[in-house]
Subunit: 154 residues, 2 copies
DNA sequence: GGTAGGCCTGTATAAGTATGCAACACATAT
DNA sequence: ATATGTGTTGCATACTTATACAGGCCTACC
């Protein structure tokens, strides 16, 4: 019963913009479904819809709400686990640290690094198998390198 | 004044989830920005943010027709427009400048930067949300940083 | 049977968001 | 200098959404 209503809601959203739960309620009523706004609030939560300019939208594609939601649900791996799983070697040059990983491992490792928010790391860039860490200076880069190397060798 | 606040809002959203406008208000207050919920409601409208499970999120997904259309319609956006649309913050270290953008914004911003062909920029590297500019030297990097920061804050 | 737990719902209301209005600041035009 | 237009803000409040609560309907298991 509920599941069927959720499907109809998806249909309605796909066919025309919906600006509010009360508008959705009226559109559903035209299709023979008669529920209150409260129920729709719960349905919207179940469907993990997001509301933006243009009304409610399905959590398809690469839109941010989905990503944010996914990040909330499953706890992302810790940096240590990441390095342990994907890291290959670490090298330093000037104020930069280059972290080599298995193919495809750079992005998740960089994400984990970003989550750490190390103050001496200005930013990270990830390719396919390489993460570049930009540090504030050479000394801090050296510290970061040591830290990462320790994680690798454990 | 407003534009700067909008940038801070983007930063706050990029760094941690925000569940309500009042929570956003408190986070901004910690950064010295003191406005009411009403103003934030208007800011959120200007930024075309959407709210879903996981709180408010930036409109970098391709699910918002208006944004997507605007980005694909005209000739490639100018660097200024790029920075204004996607840029979050700029920091300099040594001969490098790191430009943080919203997720997915780095590639187009880097392309726009390349088009500029600034003589003091030797090259650029783009990840998902970070652009690295390699400059000829520290002084030039500082100039570039200032230039980009100006674009951000206007 | 009867009881307990789970799920779904509407009601009432709390929580959150948008907006009309007036005040003010600043720019440009008269 | 005064007027006019544009833009921003806070306040108060209308509008919208979420939720505590209670009741109904199942099913499972004494």
């Amino acid at each position: 019963m509920t599941a069927q209503r959720l499907n109809v809601i998806r249909e309605v959203l796909a066919s025309s913009p919906v600006a509010s739960q009360d508008e959705l309620r009226r559109k559903l009523r035209r299709r023979g479904i008669h529920v209150t706004q409260a129920t729709l609030s719960r349905d919207i939560h179940k469907l993990r819809l997001s509301k933006g300019p243009g009304g409610y939208s399905l959590p398809n594609g690469h839109n941010v709400p989905t990503i944010a939601a996914a990040a909330e649900e499953d706890q992302p791996l810790s940096l240590g686990e990441m390095i342990d799983s994907f890291g290959l070697r670490v090298r330093q040059a000037m104020n930069q640290v280059v972290l080599s990983t298995v193919m495809g491992g750079a992005q998740p490792v960089a994400a984990a690094l970003d989550r750490e928010e190390w103050p001496e790391v200005v930013g990270t860039i990830a390719g396919d198998d390489t993460v570049l860490l930009i540090c504030t200076d050479s000394r801090h880069a050296s510290e970061v390198e040591t830290r990462l190397r320790t994680m690798l060798e454990v």
